[in-house]
Every structure is written in C-alpha cells, then in structure tokens.
C-alpha cells in the first residue's frame, strides 16, 4: 500500500469527524488519564518492579516458615509475630520494603514521568496534540500515584495471601497487648496500607518535580531515590534533631500506631500533614517549571 493510495477511503470519514475544540472537557481528561495509567502499568519495567515487590513478603514468609522460627527479637519489627498470626507478614514486608524497594519503585516511575517523555521526544507531540501542560502534569501525577498505590497494594496483598497460606490466622494481638477480631485486624491492615501510600505521595511529587527539570530519566530517578535516602540518613542523625519533624521520611514508620488499641491520631495526622506539605510545595514547583519551560527535546 502506498502513501497516496487512492483506494483508501479517508477523506469522507475525516469530514465526519471534524474536530470540535472545547466540546469534550472532563471526559477528555478521563481518556488521557486512562491512557496514562495503561502506559504506566503496561510497561514491562514497571511490571517487573511490582513483581519484585511481591517477592518481598513471599521470601520473608517462606524463610520464616521453613526455619519455623520467628527469631528471638532480632530482624525487622513484627517478624516474630508472624508464626502466631500470618497477618503480621504484611506489616513485616512493609517495614522491609520501605527503606529502599518502595521508594525506588516510586522514584523510577515518577522520575520517568516527564523526563521519559521528553527523552523519547513524545512530549513535544503530546503538547502539540494539544494537551495543556497543567492537565498533563496532573495526569502524570495521578499515574505515578496510582503506581505507588499498586506497589504498596502488591506488598499488602501478596503478604496477606502468603501469610494466610503459610501461617495460622485468627484473632490479632495488637502491640498494646489487646487482642481484636480478625476482621478488625484486616481493617487495620488496610488502614496501614493506605497510610503507607499517603506517606509515599510526597516522594511521588518530588519525583515529578525533578522529572520536569531534565530530559534524562535516569538522572531524575536517581536524584529522587537519593532525596529519599538523604532524608532517611538525616532522620537517623540526632545532631539534626531540629530538622526531623520536617523530613520526608520521618513519619513513614508511624503506621504501627494503627496496631495499637488507641492510636496516636495526632501523630498520624502530623505525618499526613507533612506529606501534604511536600505535595503542595513540590507540586507548585513542578507546575511553575513545567508550564513555562521551553520544550526543545
């Protein structure tokens, strides 16, 4: 078939589908968002990231089951509770994934969001479709946030299934010593998952901002991971205690409050507030950069 094949009936069809600017507002955004989500989750690299995250609870659970030993206080938190109640595998896996695996997964996807499109050159075509830069930024944020949620969801779900399959599951003994029904334990588990997702949203936004600064996706990914690591390092230095409350990662492990009979809601809200602050600041920075920058890639 040639470029100029006269047998192809295109002209009349084109006339029927005359573009009508401004006709479809919100549904148009829904379509962009679906396309964005499909792009993120359809990418082999991102599927592998989720698979690796799913392996974390699987490996921990298998190791604990085979050794039939909850350990004697060594190892990550909740590890010795797993043999009593498989539900704790979820929490152990989250604690193990939070220092590196989860931030890495989030940084790879959010750091790639804009820089990846710029690097491929697809950004200039999206913008001349046209997609407004603000809309694209929001779609990219939502796509990256959806991936962060799925990353946490994968750890929680695989942890839960593995825990149920390998260990006894019943009434849940909370950290405060009280035991609650399994159903309540599950609800608290879902709450923990949500808290962890929220605590990653600040990093999602930072990744998106860094991504708007460069056309080299790897640089954006690495920078985002490094920011998370630096925050964790500073959080471990008592000398900079004054900074601690404002650090991105300071409240990441507060989710254990939900495993107490009376959680410190003030502490949890502070953690959420810090994330909202990071979202607001870096969201604004990303917007101001991305909506004004020359696209020369």
């Amino acid at each position: 078939m040639s470029l100029a094949d006269p047998t192809v009936d295109t002209i009349s069809d084109h006339d029927l589908a005359r573009p009508d600017p401004g006709r479809r507002g919100r549904s148009g955004f829904g379509r962009l968002l679906r396309s964005e989500v499909r792009l993120v989750f359809g990418r082999r690299r991102n599927q592998i990231l989720l698979t690796v995250l799913g392996l974390v609870p699987l490996i921990i659970g298998t190791a604990v089951r085979l050794s039939n030993d909850g350990g004697s206080g060594d190892g990550p938190p909740f590890l010795n509770q797993i043999t009593d109640n498989g539900l704790f595998l979820v929490f152990t896996a989250l604690v193990v994934s939070l220092p590196l695996f989860l931030p890495l997964a989030v940084a790879i996807v959010s750091g790639d969001a804009l820089a990846g499109e710029a690097n491929l050159g697809t950004l200039r075509y999206l913008l001349t479709v046209p997609v407004s830069r603000s809309r694209l930024l929001v779609a990219k944020w939502l796509g990256s946030a959806a991936f962060a949620a799925s990353a946490v969801g994968t750890v929680v779900l695989v942890g839960l299934v593995t825990g149920i399959a390998l260990f006894p599951v019943g009434r849940v003994t909370l950290l405060s010593g009280t035991s609650v029904a399994l159903s309540e334990g599950l609800v608290r588990g879902v709450g923990v998952g949500c808290l962890v997702v929220i605590s990653l949203l600040g990093l999602v936004t930072i990744g998106l901002f860094v991504s708007s600064l460069t056309e080299v996706p790897v640089a954006a990914m690495a920078t985002t991971v490094v920011i998370a690591v630096i925050s964790a390092v500073l959080d471990g230095l008592p000398q900079v205690k004054v900074l601690h409350p404002y650090l991105l990662t300071h409240h990441w492990y507060d989710f254990d409050q939900l495993l107490r009979l009376s959680p410190d809601t003030g502490l949890l809200l502070t953690g959420v507030g810090v994330q909202l602050a990071y979202i607001a600041i870096f969201g604004a920075a990303a917007w101001s950069r991305f909506t004004t920058a020359d696209v020369s890639a």
């Binding site: 040639s2 470029l3 009936d9 697809t122 075509y125 997609v131």
Partner: protein, 350 residues
C-alpha cells in the same frame, strides 16, 4: 559579514526586490486575533529566539504563509528552522516578536488552534515498546477534541494512508527509519487538518518513500490544507512548493511565491558549440551579456527584458554557420538561488 541579505543585495547589481519579506502579506497579530477565518495560515512578526547562552537561533523572522499554499521552509541544518517551528507551535517561548497560526495568536490560542494543525517536529517520536497503532491511540486519547467512538477507524485510516496498515501491530522499536517517519506522518493525519507543519518529512525515506510523501503532500494541498514543509534538501522541495522561505543563520533571507522568485532570477542561456569565438560575437551582437566562454560552452545572461527569444538566437547562430551542439535556457535551482542570496554554500551554518 553579519547580514546575509545586505551582502546578497550588494553583491548583485540588480538585487531582487523579493529578498525582503513581502510585507503586504504580514498581518498584525493583534487585529487578526479574534477573526476565525484567517487570511494567512501562518504569520510571524519579528519572531526572535535567543537561547540562554546568548546565541540567537532565530532573528526577527517575518513569516507569511498564505492559506492553501505549500510553503517550503528551507535552510541548511542549524539555520533556525526547527526553533522557528517550535515557537510557532508553542513549544518554545519567543524572546521577542509574535506568531499567529490560522489567524490566532500563539501560544495563547493553542488550545483551539492546534487541534486543526497536524505536526511532524524534528523527526518522529513514539514509545518504543508500544505498537504503531497503540502509539497513535495514545496521541488520540490525549486529544480532547477527538471522538473516542471513531478513534479505531481514524487510526486505521491514518495508518493505511501512510502505508503502515500491515505493520500496525508491530512494536515501534522494530520499525525501520522510514516506517518511523511514516508513523509520524500518520500521527499528523489522525484528524482532518487545516494546516500541516512538517519538519523534514522525508528524512530517512528511500527515493520511493520520498516520492510517496511528495504525492501525499500534493494530495493534501489539493484538499485545501495549507502545508508548511521544512527541509534542508532543496531539490526535494523544489518540485512541490508554491511558496518558499529561505533561512540562513537565523534570518529569513527570502520569501515569496516560488514562480515569482524564479522569475526574478536571470535565466541563463547555455550554448554548446565547436566554434566558441564566433558564437560569442553573435551572442554579443544580439545584445546578450556573455558570462562564460571556454572549451565548447558559452553561457550568457538572458535578461528577461529586451533579450531575444531562444529560437531567435538559434536562427541567428545557424544563419552565421555556427554549429549548435546544444542550446538551453535554464533558470537557477533553489540551491543556486540560495548561494546567490547568501554568498555561501548550503551547508551546516554553525
């Protein structure tokens, strides 16, 4: 040696008036902003881009592309064509000056104007791990004006139109350079367009593909679509353009209808003969200025005014017994035009 226009005009005793952009066709963006029907498809006023390093990539360019034209935007690599196109499309903010597309000011009116504009900018760019069809679906999904119910149909039609129907399901990374270029064109043809901006559309295509693109451009133009096509290959564009604009070192050194620009150039009479000295005498006798005589070739500037027609020259030569091995009247190619205007070769500018 800063202003090629000046050099070109000084270098030629009778400099063509067309060297200056035809000011009549340049509208004031402020007055045309609100009109829906544009009397120019693309216009720019003193459009300038100075990069952060201080380098002036585009220097006070006044484009005027009439609707329905096939406008060849020519210039060597690095002459500022792509930066100009990026400014027209709202990707790069101009340092100074303004531009309108289809009568609306850019980039402010991008939301309403760009859906009517198909673009190929500095080569195709797609996601390598998605198929050709999935890549077009992504572009279509991003278009708020596109009807999702007709998406499948429009995508298939665009793929068929560029001859990619059979490779639609293949991953983009497996495409050859020519196929990638075709997919880029398909992206520009997803919707009916009033204006196509095609930056180097034949890059990477084989001669057959190049011919096909030229045919496609002619077809689209005959439907009334204005086509703004850039190229660093002058000969390629020569054949399809109604208008040309020539860039050199960031400046638009020439712009206008191609026929007019050609007409302003002196035609050259080339005579091949075994008797050069008598031929020279006869040509001079006919009032022609002989520019070159040597070997078995005589060239003369065949001025449009007062010059004898070629057949009269032939008759005079034959009457004088000068053997004619060959006689031709040629107009300069775009490349020669460019060299004449800028005094430099059509090479990378900087």
């Amino acid at each position: 040696m800063t202003n090629p226009v000046t050099i070109a005009q000084e270098g030629r005793s009778a400099g063509p008036p067309g060297a200056a952009p035809s000011a009549a066709a340049v509208p004031d963006p402020a007055t045309t902003d609100s009109t829906d029907v544009a009397d120019v498809a693309i216009a720019s006023t003193a459009l300038t881009k100075r990069f952060r390093g201080g380098q002036v990539a585009v220097d006070a360019v006044d484009l005027a592309v009439p609707p329905g034209a096939v406008y060849g935007f020519l210039g060597p690599n690095g002459s500022g064509k792509t930066t100009t196109i990026r400014m027209l499309l709202g990707l790069v903010a101009p340092t100074a000056g303004s531009a309108t597309l289809l009568g609306r000011g850019m980039p402010a009116a991008g939301r309403t104007v760009l859906p009517r504009v198909g673009a190929l900018i500095e080569g195709p760019a797609f996601h390598p791990y998605l198929s050709g069809r999935a890549n077009l679906a992504r572009l279509d999904a991003a278009d708020r004006t596109a009807d999702p119910r007709t998406a499948r149909h429009r995508i298939d039609a665009a793929l068929a139109r560029v001859g990619l129907g059979n490779a639609a399901g293949k991953r983009y990374r497996q495409y050859s350079l020519g196929m990638k270029q075709r997919l880029g064109l398909a992206g520009a043809l997803l919707q009916p367009r009033d204006l196509l901006v095609l930056d180097e559309p034949t890059n990477g295509l084989d001669p057959q593909g190049t011919r096909e693109v030229r045919t496609l451009i002619r077809e689209l133009a005959s439907d009334g679509t204005t086509v703004f096509v850039s190229s660093h290959l002058l000969a390629e564009i020569d054949q399809i353009c109604s208008h040309v604009g020539i860039m050199s070192r960031g400046r638009l050194v020439l712009q206008g209808p191609l026929a007019e620009l050609r007409g302003e150039q002196d035609a050259v009479l080339t005579l091949q003969t075994s008797a050069v000295p008598p031929a020279v005498d006869i040509l001079r006798g006919l009032g022609l200025t002989v520019t070159e005589a040597g070997g078995d070739v005589v060239r003369a500037a065949a001025e449009t005014a007062g010059a004898p027609a070629v057949q009269d020259v032939a008759v005079a030569l034959v009457a004088a017994g000068v053997p004619i091995l060959g006689l031709a009247l040629t107009r300069p190619t775009l490349e020669e035009l460019f060299v004449a205007l800028t005094g430099e070769g059509f090479d990378v500018a900087r």
